[in-house]
């Protein structure tokens, strides 16, 4: 039997990882109070702009992709099938 890593088989480890992750998010947002941004665009200096933009972009990406899937999804043998219609 080969040696196996099982670190993420334990749900506690996953929870711990997520907790560290969420904590780092809070720290990152709080850093916005301390640092001074020299913004090229007016919105760059807004509090939490990058955090919001990152989050919103990703959610938008997923919802658009889900919509797009309806349009472009085909069976795996789509191109291999002989011409039927």
């Amino acid at each position: 039997m080969k040696r196996e890593l099982k670190i993420f088989d334990n749900p506690d480890n996953v929870k711990r990882l997520l907790r560290v992750f969420y904590a780092s998010l809070v720290v990152l947002v709080l850093l916005d109070f301390i640092i001074h941004k020299h913004a090229a665009f007016p919105w760059e200096g807004q509090f939490g702009f990058f955090a919001t933009y990152g989050f919103v972009s990703c959610v938008a990406l997923i919802f658009i992709a889900k919509g797009l899937r309806r349009l472009i999804r085909r069976d795996e043998d789509y191109y291999d099938r002989p011409e039927d219609s």
């Binding site: 196996e4 916005d32 919001t52 989050f55 990703c58 990406l61 997923i62 797009l68 191109y79």
Partner: protein, 593 residues
């Protein structure tokens, strides 16, 4: 043909291409050692050769140049030789000379393009790349790979022909083969632009990439990920820097593929889409065209080659060790392939441009260049594409974590791990110490990526993107991976062409049948009839009213008609006799004189 004035050493392109010819003659360790020596020799030549024009020869009326060495070409030369070395290490256990020979010729072609000093040399090596790379797909030796290779070469032949037509028109207009900056105006430069755009995979000319790369061999895909698009980046930076159209094409190119990458099931196809997305950043930067932007494009090409090759190597390891490549069939591989997993995460962190990984130091230059040029919409698009990190997260997630597939595959052989380790090491090294890379960029660099503001902004963008990924994953909103394919622009030449085929079949074949009936059967008979009976009929047509006027009855008229026809049949017309007599008389006159 004429005098060959070679400078120091041999052109790097020829080191690779001539070296490749010896591969089938060698065996075992000698072959491995010889192969690894080729990129080292080329690298040595690049280190020692001074800037300027080298390796010129004269063909017909033109001076051809195999070695234009300046700061722009030299850095591409470095990275192409470096990645050849790493890819060859990765491929050492492959027992297939076809892949070695074509891989080396392909790398040689890319180096030839990079150091070409004129358009003709550029075109020759451009085609060498197209042909050699096709064999890396064919070498998979499956039916779908053959079909993909066939489509791949057709697209590239078409792109090559565009380039050639553009070059011919350009030479005709300007009288020179000069391979330098061009204005996008007129048919010649547009054709050259389209030719380059095909290789750069600029939408809508991109689908060959996601169609062909996932069908290549394990090692072949690593070679493919490095050369074709990045040599096109080089040529684009050389010719069309500062072309506004490229800003927008590039920005779109960063955004569109990530939607596909989210939905795609085949891991190497996800990587192919994110490749297009990354080249979009470079194209956009070339379009912006400022010194910072061009530096950013070149630096990003350099870093991108390393981390993209690393990701393709990791995906290839998974494919080789498990025989599977779809997200739906993989998962939990970290348990038995921890090193591959680790390297894959480094590659993903680099492509996502996390601080202290290579993508960060190059991508920030491009995003900053857009900001300094006050391109607000472009900046927002680039940030959107940077924040959309799913394509980068999903490769390690679905392959190595996620749902446990129960597959317990071993780590790949040592040489593959070593190649991944080298690439991963360089990704981190460049990320932490960007100065050596900045030092060899085309223009002097006055840019500091590691300011507190930069790092915090980037981390906020990425970490909250990651948060979205986690939340969507945990809540089940994330679109499930499924066994399906997604149609892209290649639909037009894979499915749409069948409609065209039917149109051709129905339209042209019917036209053919009608033409045959009309021109092959009816027209000759008609013409023969006209030729035989036409004059007589005309005469009868015009003459019979006069006959009738002069009191001829129906019987007389019929007799007259017969007489006219007989006269024409025997060619004994009065006017014909007169003409014959006149001709005879003229001949006599001529003779007497």
């Amino acid at each position: 043909m004429n005098s060959l004035s070679f400078g120091t050493g041999m052109p790097p392109a020829l080191i690779f291409i001539i070296g490749a010819l010896f591969i089938p003659l060698l065996r075992g360790r000698v072959k491995s050692a010889f192969m690894l020596l080729l990129p080292l020799a080329a690298f040595y030549v690049l280190l020692t050769v001074p800037e300027g024009i080298h390796w010129q020869f004269r063909l017909l009326h033109y001076d051809l140049t195999l070695g234009r060495v300046d700061r722009l070409s030299r850095i591409f030369g470095y990275i192409f030789t470096l990645i050849s070395f790493i890819s060859l290490i990765y491929a050492l256990k492959v027992d297939d000379d076809l892949q070695y020979v074509s891989g080396l010729c392909y790398a040689g072609g890319a180096l030839g393009v990079t150091f070409a000093g004129d358009l003709f040399t550029l075109y020759i090596f451009w085609e060498v790349m197209a042909v050699a790379s096709t064999f890396l797909i064919l070498a998979r030796r499956t039916k779908s790979a053959q079909a993909a290779a066939f489509r791949y070469i057709l697209v590239h032949v078409l792109g090559g022909l565009c380039l050639l037509a553009g070059i011919v028109l350009y030479v005709h207009r300007t009288g020179t083969l000069q391979f330098g900056h061009m204005q996008l105006a007129g048919a010649d430069t547009w054709l050259i632009f389209i030719g380059i755009a095909v290789n750069a995979a600029i939408p809508p000319l991109h689908p060959w990439l996601q169609d062909a790369y996932p069908e290549a061999t394990v090692a072949g895909a690593v070679f493919l990920s490095a050369f074709t698009t990045k040599s096109a980046v080089y040529v684009m930076a050389r010719t069309f820097a500062g072309t506004e159209l490229l800003i927008w094409l590039g920005a779109l190119m960063t955004v569109i593929p990530i939607f596909y990458a989210v939905l795609e099931n085949d891991i190497r196809r996800v990587l192919a889409y994110s490749l297009v997305n990354q080249v979009g950043f470079m194209m956009c930067a070339i379009g912006i065209g400022t010194q910072l932007a061009i530096n950013g494009a070149v630096a990003h090409a350099f870093c991108h080659i390393l981390y993209k090759a690393l990701l393709f190597m990791a995906a290839g390891s998974v494919l080789q060790m498990t025989g599977k490549i779809r997200c739906t069939e993989l998962g939990g591989l970290y348990k038995t392939m921890p090193l591959t997993c680790f390297f894959c995460i480094i590659g993903a962190a680099s492509i996502a441009a996390f601080p202290f990984f290579s993508g960060f130091v190059s991508k920030s230059m491009i995003v900053s260049a857009a900001a300094y040029s006050h391109l607000a919409v472009v900046w927002l698009m680039l940030q959107f594409a940077s924040a959309g990190i799913f394509p980068y997260v999903k490769v390690p997630y679905f392959a190595f974590f996620g749902r446990d597939s129960g597959i317990r595959a071993e780590e790949p052989p040592f040489n593959m791990l070593a190649a991944m380790g080298m690439a991963a090491f360089l990704c981190v090294l460049i990320g932490v110490f960007p100065q050596p890379l900045y030092h060899i960029l085309p223009y002097p660099v006055d840019y500091a990526p590691y300011t507190v503001v930069h790092v915090v902004e980037k981390l906020q963008l990425l970490m909250f993107g990651l948060l979205a990924f986690c939340l969507l994953m945990l809540s089940g909103y994330y679109p499930a991976e499924m066994r399906s394919i997604n149609v892209d622009v290649d639909w037009f030449y894979r499915k749409g062409v069948r409609v065209l085929y039917r149109l051709m079949d129905q339209g042209l074949n019917r036209l053919n049948a009608v033409c045959e009936e009309l021109f092959a059967r009816k027209l000759p008979g008609f013409l023969a009839w006209i030729a035989k009976d036409g004059p007589a009929l005309l005469v009868v047509f015009f003459a019979s009213p006069f006959k009738a006027m002069m009191g001829a009855d129906r019987e007389n008229l019929d007799g007259y008609k017969r007489k006219i026809h007989a006269t024409f049949d025997t060619l004994s017309l009065p006017i014909g006799l007169g003409a014959a007599a006149a001709a005879l008389f003229l001949v006599l006159l001529f003779w007497v004189n």
